[in-house]
């Protein structure tokens, strides 16, 4: 017998009455974006959730020896296999239900990973799980470097950023490559739902989570998650920076549902990228007179990506008519 789960009303006043499924006492840095992302994802739904976690800041500081900040069943096994672990859990659950050993309680399966554990190290297991079509959601909190081990560059690090393995100095002016567009790569797997979200737009994020949980099959959600240690910014600007990322179109909010792309939040006025770069110390060198070309190149890249998204969205709205 399948238990039905009531949908959750997305109103701040109603949500505030609910119980947190990710609690205080975790040891993430002050002002970290990741716990905000996790709490919003878990808050968006009434479904029981089982989560797996890739190694990363979130894993090491939410579950230290006898302490856990999670109020849901949670498993961590290694860095590279969060998606493989949760797909195994999902397969076992399905099998037990089929054998009649367990009631189907409409459990949802979620994997959390940082950008290192998603874009680079966990990529093959993620790609495999998506291809096998497990009924699961992968949530990547993208802070753009290996922050846990001391800010090494990852393939999610944006162009120009200063990290400890691509330090801005005489030899190179920070990272010289553009970042990998993982949301599009995941959508290219032909999965039913892939989306990009930001904790500053909490309603948009929660709507995407709700929508994803109603879809059977593999889902992917990429969420920007500011890190004041690695981004060299102030402790209080996690939400302000993720909002600027959306308004400058550095982090466009869109969803790809069965191949059809839709931009969910369009900024009223597209701000120049420098507004997002300026408060972050990791881009400080880009504002030196000799590095003006970097600002130009970063802006051109963001503009081209945004134009491409708009064109693709126009194509899909035309195709749906």
């Amino acid at each position: 017998m399948t238990t039905t789960v009531q949908p959750k009303e997305l109103k701040l006043k109603e949500l505030a009455k609910g119980e947190d499924r990710f609690v205080h006492g975790h040891r993430m840095c002050a002002g970290c974006g990741a716990p905000i992302v996790v709490k919003q994802v878990l808050m968006a739904t009434n479904y029981p959730i089982i989560a797996s976690n890739a190694t990363g800041c979130l894993e090491v500081s939410s579950c230290i020896q006898q302490f856990t900040a999670w109020k849901i069943p949670w498993i961590h096994s290694a860095f590279e296999n969060a998606a493989a672990t949760i797909s195994g859990v999902e397969a076992m659950y399905k099998s037990l239900v089929k054998q009649g050993k367990l009631d189907d309680r409409n459990v949802k399966f979620v994997a959390f990973g940082g950008d290192g554990g998603t874009y680079d190290i966990g990529f093959q297991s993620l790609s495999g799980a998506m291809e096998r079509g497990h009924d699961m959601m992968y949530v990547c909190y993208d802070n753009g470097a290996y922050m846990n081990t001391g800010i090494q560059r990852s393939s999610a690090t944006p162009f120009g950023a200063n990290t400890t393995t691509c330090p801005a100095g005489d030899a190179i002016p920070g990272k010289l490559q553009q970042r990998k567009d993982l949301t599009r790569i995941m959508a290219a797997h032909g999965i039913p739902y892939a989306a990009q979200a930001s904790p500053s737009n909490w309603l948009d994020l929660m709507k995407k989570v709700q929508k994803a949980f109603e879809i059977k099959g593999p889902k992917f959600l990429n969420v920007i998650s500011p890190c004041n240690r690695g981004w060299r910014s102030k402790t209080d600007d996690a939400i302000a920076l993720s909002r600027l990322a959306v308004e400058t179109c550095y982090w466009p909010l869109y969803e790809v549902e069965n191949g059809a792309l839709k931009i969910t939040v369009k900024p009223k006025e597209k701000k120049p990228l420098t507004e997002f770069l300026k408060p972050q110390g990791r881009f400080k060198h880009m504002f030196a007179p000799e590095n003006e070309w970097m600002l130009k190149q970063a802006q051109e890249y963001v503009d081209a990506q945004w134009e491409h998204l708009l064109k693709e969205e126009a194509f899909w709205t035309e195709a749906k008519k």
Partner: protein, 98 residues
């Protein structure tokens, strides 16, 4: 908080108590202290939504109550995001111990 040693820990790296991190208080990390000024508060709940440490208490009616200083790390996100009333913020940051 009593320390557990290997003889008393459950086998296999499992934590049997959900949400046990609440026993570990992180309030001591704070160098800046948020102060809630109730008359400027419009109950928008943005501070509650954006708090990374779940350190804003909520009453049974869903209204914002005082900060939970046992866990607040003093990041200041709430103070920055607070819209306040008529340009006056309902949350201000003060130096701890002053």
């Amino acid at each position: 908080m009593s320390k557990k040693f290997w003889e008393t820990l459950p086998q296999g790296s499992v934590v049997l108590e959900a949400g046990s991190s609440a026993k570990f208080k992180t309030g001591g990390w704070r160098s800046m202290r948020p102060k809630w000024i109730e008359e400027n508060c419009i109950q928008c709940m943005f501070c509650w939504m954006y708090c990374p440490d779940m350190s804003i208490k909520v009453t049974a009616e869903g209204k914002r109550a005082e900060f939970d200083y046992d866990y607040c790390k003093g990041c200041g996100i709430c103070a920055l995001e607070c819209p306040g009333k008529k340009g006056k913020k309902a949350i201000v940051m003060e130096e701890e111990g002053k």
